[in-house]
């Protein structure tokens, strides 16, 4: 009998599902790619066959053009049978629209690859579902006990107060174009903010895609073409890279805000030149990571991309079997 889980090999460029010759979120083009979600460090173009949720496939099509080669669409809760009889089931991960954990079953063993996930409510995607498994491959982007994301309502209140206090200026919120931007907009709407929200050009198509998938974002208009004075007291959303870019000079003395879990640490905010840090993340914070491992209660926990060391230490302290996967190609995105 083969050693436990030997059918799943962590290689530098992704997790290799050997009997299916498929890869989870591979960092380079492969034959068969199982993609957890649409962020660029997980979903890359150029695979012969991409297996993902319909939302993720739509996002990839928007980013890379129509997938020239094949794709297989798997809705939440659906299972596909891969080569070698490996079963892959896509389960909501609560990270962004279309994000999934992938449950892989082979030889009587169950492995979950989470991709990225969070446990907080998010009006733009269904919540993470706890699913029993033998091996839980978890992300660890915010895998340090200093990361505790505050309730999002507090951060929305900070944003709305800053706007209220300085009506001659506008608030410019740097937010990742896929997921974070739409979540911030939806949360603003939930907080009762009904004014037009202005978008950087790079945000528009992704917001439309979200709306096409039934996420109501209210009145959105491009910044382009609006005179400077008319932008006073408005909320503008842009990608983080545009915050201190020449682009932002068209805005009336913007208060630079950034929606990111990294904003928990003052010097990170300072390094980015952010005046108004908004601690909003689409990743699990320390409490969510440890809570999730406890709830899933796997036989083994494999930790990947992020601050693996601290989470491994926690597993050691709580007497859980764990290991780090040295996968390359994942970045600390501006999340």
């Amino acid at each position: 009998m083969a050693a436990p889980f030997s059918w799943l090999k962590p290689e530098p460029y992704g997790l290799h599902v050997v009997p299916a010759d498929a890869w989870v979120d591979p960092a380079r083009p492969v034959d068969t790619a199982l993609v957890t979600h649409g962020h660029a460090d997980h979903a890359r173009g150029g695979h012969r066959l991409t297996v993902a949720t319909p939302e993720t496939l739509a996002i990839m099509a928007l980013r890379y053009g129509v997938l020239e080669t094949g794709s297989t669409s798997v809705a939440y809760g659906e299972t596909v049978i891969l080569k070698g009889g490996v079963r892959a089931t896509y389960v909501p991960a609560g990270h962004v629209l279309g994000s999934a954990q992938i449950l892989l079953e082979h030889a009587g063993e169950r492995v979950i690859v989470t991709g990225d996930y969070k446990r907080r409510a998010d009006p733009t995607c269904p919540p993470f579902e706890v699913t029993p498994c033998d091996v839980f491959v978890t992300e660890a982007t915010f895998g340090l006990p200093v990361f505790r994301h505050p309730p999002i309502a507090e951060e929305m209140a900070k944003l709305l107060t800053a706007r209220q206090n300085d009506q001659g200026r506008c608030v410019l919120v740097g937010a990742y174009a896929l997921g974070k931007a739409q979540r911030v907009i939806a949360e603003l709407r939930a907080a009762g903010f009904t004014d037009t929200i202005r978008l950087h050009g790079a945000m528009e198509r992704m917001c439309r895609l979200y709306e096409d998938h039934g996420v109501d974002l209210g009145d959105l208009q491009p910044v382009a073409g609006v005179p400077k004075a008319a932008l006073a007291n408005s909320i503008v959303i842009c990608p983080p890279a545009a915050l201190n870019d020449r682009w932002s000079r068209r805005l009336p003395d913007p208060i630079t805000a950034m929606a990111s879990g990294w904003m928990r640490v003052r010097q990170r905010a300072r390094q980015r030149g952010v005046e108004l840090p908004l601690i909003i993340s689409d990743h699990a914070d320390w409490d969510e990571l440890t809570q999730t491992i406890t709830q899933v209660n796997p036989t083994e926990t494999w930790v990947t991309h992020g601050r693996e060391e601290a989470l491994l230490r926690w597993c050691e302290l709580t007497q859980r079997k764990a290991r780090a996967l040295a996968l390359v190609g994942y970045e600390d995105e501006d999340d």
Binding site: V146, R266, Q267, Q271, A310
Partner: protein, 531 residues
């Protein structure tokens, strides 16, 4: 305390000086006494709680957080107080009301080393995460948020529409929470008196010279001596020696303190006797010799005999009760020249004006100055009054050109503050022989500035990609990158394995074009030793 915490956060995140001033001024105007005075002292490092040290924070956390998780967190965040504020376990149940700044200060003043852990824990329990950060920063006296004493004084002046020079002047006789100062500025009470006490007067400082040339009929040139700038004050039978930052160092240099008996305020360079600077007789030793005497609270007899201190005078601010600071430099200089013969000649001499014919002549004289281990040249407008701080156009410093050497990057450590998470402290070395026949690199210095933000990103990436070993927060690199290191001087040192210690080393250029084995050898550096 919440208002103070919010102020701290806003100051950390506000890059613009004017916006910082506005935030601070608003706080000073709107906060009642004595909170605002304590806050001001905290921001300008005017508070000290001997019972609370950074080690106390670490031991409090050690009782609450796993040591490995603590170290990983501290290393990531780059700041002990902030890490502790984030990791502090929230108390169960409802939080007690937050303390005021004054309450925190009184409580911490009253603590002893024995009671400190419980007292600090109790205060931490009463604050939210930002409040805890503010408390720990205040308690350990390590704000480092870019608020200089000068900026605080400008903000104070702005808050109450008073003159900043007056604030500078009255500030020094006062201690926190500065109630008489607020009474004067906010409530129109008479200002605190300064003429009866041996108080510090703010120094006049110089800008680096950027002009190609200056007209020496308008500017006088003096040597810039390589010691420490001091102010010596004698009034009503008392003498004080102040360092550039206004610290009282009278007891560190008792021979100088005892030597002044004339009522006056003098500005000069404190040096140690030797045959190095200013010729064979009456000369000074190198900065290295002076360094042995800095930072000591008591001075041994041997030290007073072997390395006696004296002051080379630059300026005269007040003589008897006459304030000369409004006078032109030339007039003050005449008064100083007339005063010096009446002072103790073993402890005071005058910094000579350099007799240069014109600017080119001065440049020529300056270029020879290295041999005499002088820091450079000062240019002072002949009609300049003595004003606090750096005012454009009045005084310039023209340092001699730095020495240069090519070294190899050996180790890197993460910075703190704005540079936390970046590998920004670099240890570099020179070859102890021919690298092609098995010579080794020996560390010769450490530098953490001289590079741009872009270069820092490059260096950080280089370190991460070329790590061959990790020792706690330190990474050893593969020793492939060459730096051109600029430094002011180099001295023999028994404390370093390489036998040399550099003064003010900084990264002058990153030499990606130069292979490591072509970096300089230790013997080249040793040949530059000045003493």
């Amino acid at each position: 305390m919440e208002r103070f915490a919010a102020l701290l956060d806003a100051l950390v995140l506000t890059p613009s000086r004017n916006a910082k001033l506005a935030l601070l001024a608003a706080y000073l105007r709107e906060t009642p006494d004595p909170d605002r005075g304590w806050a001001l002292a905290a921001l300008t490092d005017g508070l000290d709680f001997p019972a609370v040290k950074a080690s106390l924070i670490r031991s409090l956390m050690a009782e609450r957080v796993d040591p490995v998780l603590w170290t990983l967190s501290r290393d990531y965040v780059g700041d002990t107080a902030e890490t502790a504020s984030l990791l502090w376990p929230e108390p169960l149940g409802e939080r007690l009301p937050a303390p005021t700044v004054a309450e925190v200060v009184e409580t911490l003043h009253a603590t002893t080393r024995t009671t400190a852990p419980a007292v600090l824990a109790d205060l931490l329990d009463r604050l939210d995460v930002n409040g805890r950060y503010a408390l720990l920063k205040l308690a350990t006296g390590a704000m480092r948020i870019g608020i200089s004493a000068r900026l605080a004084k400008v903000a104070f002046a702005q808050a109450f529409s008073v003159n900043v020079e007056d604030v500078e002047e009255y500030w020094h006789g006062q201690s926190p929470p500065y109630t008489p100062l607020f009474d004067w500025a906010a409530n129109g009470a008479p200002p605190p008196r300064t003429d009866l006490l041996p108080l510090f007067r703010p120094f006049m400082l110089a800008h680096p010279l950027e002009a190609e040339s200056l007209d020496l009929s308008e500017y006088a040139a003096e040597w810039k001596w390589d010691g420490i700038r001091v102010q010596i004050v004698h009034v009503a039978g008392e003498t004080r020696v102040y360092s550039r930052s206004g610290d009282d160092i009278s007891t560190t240099f008792p021979e100088v303190t005892a030597a002044l008996t004339t009522p006056c305020v003098l500005d000069g360079e404190l040096l140690v006797r030797g045959a190095h600077q200013g010729g064979e007789t009456g000369g000074a030793a190198s900065f290295n010799a002076l360094q042995q005497r800095l930072g000591r609270k008591t001075v041994s007899k041997a030290m007073l005999t072997d390395s006696p201190a004296f002051v080379r005078l630059y300026d005269l601010l007040i003589e008897d009760k006459e304030d000369l600071r409004e006078w032109a430099w030339e007039q003050r200089r005449a008064r100083l020249e007339a005063l010096v013969p009446r002072l103790d000649a073993t402890r005071f001499d005058i910094s000579q004006v350099i007799p240069a014919k014109d600017f080119d002549d001065l440049a020529e004289i300056r270029s020879r100055a290295r041999d005499e281990a002088i820091e450079g040249v000062m240019l002072k407008r002949r009609d300049s009054p003595y004003v606090a701080g750096r005012r454009t156009g009045l005084w310039y410093k023209w340092k001699r050109d730095p020495l240069l050497i090519d070294c190899v990057l050996m180790y890197a450590q993460r910075g703190s503050g704005k540079r936390s998470s970046f590998y920004s402290d670099f240890t570099f070395g020179c070859w102890n022989g021919d690298p092609d026949s098995g010579a080794e690199l020996l560390p010769v210095g450490k530098a953490y500035f001289g590079f741009t933000d872009e270069e820092l990103k490059f260096l950080d990436r280089h370190v991460r990609q070329h790590t061959v070993g990790k020792f706690g927060p330190v990474r050893e690199t593969d020793k492939s990158l060459v730096f051109e290191v600029a430094f002011d001087s180099v001295h023999a040192s028994k404390r370093h394995k390489s036998g040399v210690a550099m003064r003010f080393p900084r990264i002058s250029r990153i030499r990606t074009d130069k292979p490591a084995h072509e970096a300089d050898r230790l013997e080249t550096l040793k040949a530059m030793i000045a003493d």
